[in-house]
């Protein structure tokens, strides 16, 4: 007896939506078992990580804060992934977005006015775009694989950040601490719900997801991206330029990661510090896949991943569950999702070739 894969005539829409839910459920069950086996309170951890943040309304504001950068970055990445363009260096573009916004902060130190924040946002987007423009140019001009170049530039961006905050951008009043001056009120995001820590970034993330959904499903550009990714030869015949698609999808991804960096810098951080790269750019890859590269799905997946971050902190304080284990739960979700992909494209048959029920499909194959 063995497993056999039988290609479906077209991908199963039901499985496309069911598999992310199955992936999360399987992560809880199998993750709980595995961590119990190696001596942790595995199911206690699952409870604290996946359910406590949802059950406790006080934690909802934390979810909004964590989900914001994840959703914004993942929406940008998903556009590239649909076109088979693999930008995995969103973390670097996020850092550049934060640094560009900080540059504006330093230039406008003694100024005030409502124009500063939009200018920071533009700078953040431009910073992310500029950082991804190098891989985009190398890919389109020299056919250099963007997976490696975007990632290499992430390491460079972290070095650039360290150089600036340990060097020229270090605040004179920081007593040797590697950090810039604190952003002023006009340089920081306003709080939108009184009494909470939810800032302007959260509604921006929702708007971006909705706009991206509209563009990707209703516009010619969305169709172009999907065609270039799914059927490059057909796209070329149809007059869609592969290079143009690469450029646009990378610039949108980099720009959104840059915007996320600006929103983090002007939001939760409030100044530039060496701890700024928190790994959102990498976690957003999981968010993009778990959301099925669909902006609305990404909105939900962003909240799911935010739950695990917030829940990880809860589990650390309540049951002393080590925080780095959250990364394992997160990657398990992606593993199970990718494993589930097989159900979207194939029917899984169990049994020998000769078994009775399969005879018709055998004949047609």
């Amino acid at each position: 007896m063995r497993l056999r894969l039988e290609k479906r005539p077209s991908p199963s829409q039901f499985m496309l939506f069911a598999t992310p839910l199955m992936a999360v459920a399987l992560t809880m069950v199998i993750g709980g078992f595995v961590f119990t086996l190696i001596g942790f309170d595995g199911f206690g951890a699952v409870r604290e990580i996946f359910f406590t943040p949802l059950m406790n309304p006080l934690k909802w504001q934390d979810l909004a804060v964590k989900a914001t950068p994840l959703v914004i970055i993942a929406v940008g990445l998903s556009i590239g992934y649909r076109a088979n363009v693999w930008n995995i260096g969103a973390e670097g573009q996020y850092v550049l977005g934060g640094l560009s916004a900080t540059g504006i902060v330093l230039l406008t130190q003694d100024m005030s006015g409502p124009w500063i924040l939009p200018l920071m946002a533009v700078a953040g987007i431009a910073g992310g775009m500029a950082w991804v423009a190098v891989p985009a140019w190398l890919r389109t001009r020299y056919k250099v694989n963007e997976i490696l170049t975007t990632l290499m530039l992430t390491y460079v961006s972290v070095n650039l950040l360290n150089y600036l905050v340990f060097g020229p951008w270090k605040s004179p009043r920081a007593f040797g601490q590697p950090q810039t001056i604190a952003f002023s009120a006009d340089q920081s995001l306003p709080y939108i719900i009184p009494g909470t820590i939810v800032q302007l970034g959260a509604p921006i993330a929702v708007i971006i997801a909705l706009v991206a959904w509209f563009v990707m499903s209703r516009s010619l550009f969305g169709y172009q991206v999907r065609t270039v990714g799914a059927a490059p030869y057909a796209a070329r015949h149809g007059g869609f330029s592969a290079n143009q698609t690469i450029w646009v999808s990378l610039l949108v991804g980099g720009g959104l990661a840059g915007l996320a960096g600006m929103l983090e810098a002007a939001g939760p951080f409030g100044r530039m510090v060496p701890q700024f790269p928190t790994g959102y750019g990498f976690t957003a890859i999981i968010v993009a896949f778990l959301g099925r590269l669909n902006p609305i799905g990404i909105l939900i997946a962003g909240i799911v991943l935010a739950i695990t971050f917030v829940g990880g902190e809860v589990a650390q304080t309540t049951i002393a569950f080590p925080y780095p284990a959250v990364g394992i739960f997160q990657s398990m979700m992606l593993f199970f999702l990718l494993a589930g992909d097989v159900l979207v494209r194939y029917r899984v048959r169990i049994g020998n070739r000769a078994s009775a029920g399969d005879s018709t499909s055998e004949a047609s194959a």
Partner: protein, 309 residues
Amino acid sequence: MSVDLVIAIVITLIGASTPILIAALGELVVEKSGVLNLGVEGMMLCGAVVGFAAAYTTGNPWLGVGAGALAGMLASMIFAFLTLTLSSNQVATGLALTIFGAGFSALFGQPYTGKPLELFRSVFPPDLSMHPILKVIFGYSPLVYFSLIMVVAVWFFLQRTRAGLILRAVGESDISAHSIGYPVIGVRYMAVAFGGAMAGIAGACFPLLLTPQWVERLTSGRGWIALALVVFAAWKPGRLLIGAYLFGLIATMELYAKAAGGVFRVLPSELWASLPYLATIVVLVLFSLRARGSTGAPACLGKPFVPAN
């Protein structure tokens, strides 16, 4: 420059190159079989933490290497099952493996933070390994000699053995290989397992060869650089050796530049730390400029194979 300085440079650069060389040799075999495993960094992190734990608890660095190899291999089997048996997307699965490795090493490395480890001693007698001149040949960790032996072994396996021929056939044309009766999926499983073991050993090199203590994310992107080197070397083991040592030279350049003094002294250390990554990008560009037409990439690289029953 004095002879002593040159010898010191050679010894540091070979040390810094060794993990990248070992990981890249493994990935070369994987890619020759037609599989693109982007999870090298993740497997290295798994190998590093398990290797450290084993060497620390037993006090025996050899067991550390063995445990690292085993950990890398087990991690690679997750990838193999998903991509080969369930034919999932290789790029996405490799990324998932890297994210997993980062979480795994952060979790299990936590208790070892700051704990010291004993480095490998040279296998040669002190007369040779500590000799001021001859140490440039005899003064290395066994892992360095292992990497050099593996360069020859991988070349020999791929070019001179029947099994190597089958592996290349599977990577160049999976359908033909399948139709003349070679087990495509089985061959790829073995290749991925080998790549995983090598990545695990490469990871174990960091605590056992370079910095004898546990530092989180100690591989700092070297797995990705190994992937780039395979492209640069046009899938040839000999060129991989040259590429890895060039890279080691760049990665350790700060030390000699600082010693040389002058204008180099004022350059920020962050710039030096960025050089390996920038050099990798430059190398990829140079390679693509040179490679008009064929790049030497296996024809089936990254393409899933589902046998039609």
